[in-house]
């Protein structure tokens, strides 16, 4: 009896350790797994009816369709853990809007840019008249989504302008903190923040920070074949108007002609950054 139990236990442990090497990361007959940070309006959020909608979700669906995959599986991960989820192979790529950065390009494989963006600082309505330039930020407490590029901007400019940084686990939490008066301001990506404060009279946009910010789609480092295929699909939906239609649906206007959404870049990846391949290829068009 004792011996049987011991053997069963040992076998169970052996089975657990001996499971064969990971199966195919991008199975062709399964839905495309994409990561989003749910609640990041209007890219990925839940409506009152409980439906998951958003620009990023529509983008993922369009890509899955173009790649010939049976639909999409949206996996929600908190932003601060989204890259870990990608590397842990919980998702195939990230469709949440991810700013392209050289430091990030060293840890993941970006596709070419698909949209231009900027940063926005919104403040509590009581401060609306006082805050117009960066120097007005002195002494204020600014909330931010941990690990976002807004976080980086704050860290890089803190010494110069003298504000305090307060980190939150989501953009919405930071916005709510401004709404209730806990902190003075919040900084986040332009589109998302502008959309989110539309119905919040206590929080008003104050300073727009334009630069050369662009969104790309991160894939795992080394997952080159998939990234290339994904990029071909991305170029396909740029060229035949699918992506522009999605943009119009969520932002209520046509994108600017110079926006990355209307630009197809030569080669795979972001020119000038790690992971770039100057390989000529055809976009993936619908059949």
């Amino acid at each position: 009896m004792k011996r049987i139990c011991t053997i069963v236990v040992v076998m169970a442990m052996a089975a657990l350790l001996a499971v064969p090497v990971l199966a195919d990361d991008h199975p062709a007959n399964e839905p495309l797994k994409a990561a989003v940070d749910m609640g990041y309006v209007p890219f990925a959020f839940v409506t009152e009816q409980g439906e998951e909608v958003g620009f990023a979700i529509d983008l993922a669906k369009a890509l899955a369709d173009r790649l010939g995959r049976p639909g999409v599986e949206i996996v929600s991960v908190q932003w601060s853990g989204i890259f870990a989820a990608l590397n842990a192979k919980r998702v195939e790529f990230i469709v949440a809007p991810t700013n392209i950065r050289p430091s990030r390009a060293e840890n993941m494989l970006f596709t070419e840019p698909y949209m231009d963006t900027a940063q926005l600082i919104a403040v509590n309505a009581e401060l609306a008249d006082e805050v117009e330039t960066f120097t007005d930020l002195s002494g204020l407490t600014i909330g931010v989504n941990t690990g976002s590029v807004s976080d980086d901007w704050l860290v890089n400019n803190q010494a110069e302008y003298g504000f305090t940084i307060d980190r939150y686990d989501s953009m919405l939490d930071a916005i709510m903190a401004v709404d209730t008066g806990r902190i003075d301001a919040v900084i986040a990506d332009y589109e998302a923040l502008a959309y989110a404060v539309k119905d919040k009279p206590n929080v008003v946009p104050a300073i727009t920070i334009t630069g050369s910010e662009q969104y790309g789609l991160p894939c795992r480092l080394g997952d080159t074949a998939f990234r290339n295929q994904l990029e071909r699909a991305l170029e396909g939906i740029k060229l035949d108007g699918t992506l522009q239609a999605i943009y119009n649906k969520w932002f209520g206007m046509e994108p600017k002609p110079t926006d990355a959404i209307n630009t197809v870049y030569v080669g795979y990846g972001v020119p000038g950054l790690p992971g770039y391949e100057e390989t000529y290829h055809q976009p993936l068009f619908a059949e």
């Binding site: 236990v9 499971v19 090497v21």
Partner: protein, 220 residues
């Protein structure tokens, strides 16, 4: 006062968030039931294994119980979530949560069941064996039924704790009740959904709190 009601007991917000909250509640109930089943079964299995008095096996079980009682469950959730893909398993978040809660809960159930089994005197085991019953028959027909009575108060209490622990699954983005309440809070800029979620838990679990107190008083 009216500001209080507007912000915390806002009927309009409660109504608008009903679908989101109900989705969360459904997931919480499913998660709780699945985890309770697996946790108690695993705990029972381990407790019975310990009665075999096999020294190496016992050491393994003791190590397991100590580890999972010392490690905070919230940390365990994250470890299971990030580690399972490395074992060729990519369970949906629901099952990640069930695995976590079951591993954690089983450690506590094992101790409860063990105390129960050991509280039944050795004489019973010896008498049954001498009457010709096998080890498993003795367990099944003599020891375990009596142990159930002893075990009921701490087991109910532990089950209640496990149901409350399901909210920790929100940190791995499992859409249970509290996660959904936070989503609704962000969507409507009003904390009423958070209070509503708390009230739902209160209404759902208060009977079990009373039941646990009653059982503990009767058997204590």
């Amino acid at each position: 006062m009216s500001a209080f009601i507007h912000n915390f007991l806002n009927i309009d917000v409660m109504y608008r968030s009903r679908i989101i909250l109900l989705m969360g509640l459904k997931n919480t109930v499913l998660l709780a039931l699945a985890s309770l089943v697996f946790a108690s079964l695993l705990g029972l299995f381990l407790a019975v294994l310990r009665e075999l008095r096999n020294r190496p096996l016992n050491l393994l079980i003791i190590a397991y119980v100590d580890l999972f009682r010392a490690l905070p469950t919230i940390v365990l959730f994250m470890i299971v979530y990030y580690m399972t893909p490395y074992f060729s398993m990519n369970p949906p978040i629901f099952w990640s949560a069930v695995i976590t809660l079951s591993l954690n809960g089983a450690a506590y159930f094992e101790e409860i069941f063990r105390a129960g089994i050991e509280s039944i005197s050795k004489g019973q085991t010896e008498a049954s064996r001498s009457l010709g019953l096998t080890y498993w028959q003795t367990m099944r027909h003599v020891i375990l039924p009596q142990a159930v009575r002893v075990v009921l108060p701490p087991a109910t209490s532990n089950s209640l704790e496990l149901v409350k622990t399901t909210v920790l699954a929100s940190v791995i983005s499992m859409p249970e009740l509290m996660y959904k309440a936070q989503q609704a809070y962000g969507l409507m800029a009003n904390p009423t959904p958070l209070i509503t979620a708390a009230l739902i838990f209160l209404v759902m679990l208060w009977p079990f709190v009373r039941l646990t107190s009653y059982l503990e008083r009767r058997m204590g």
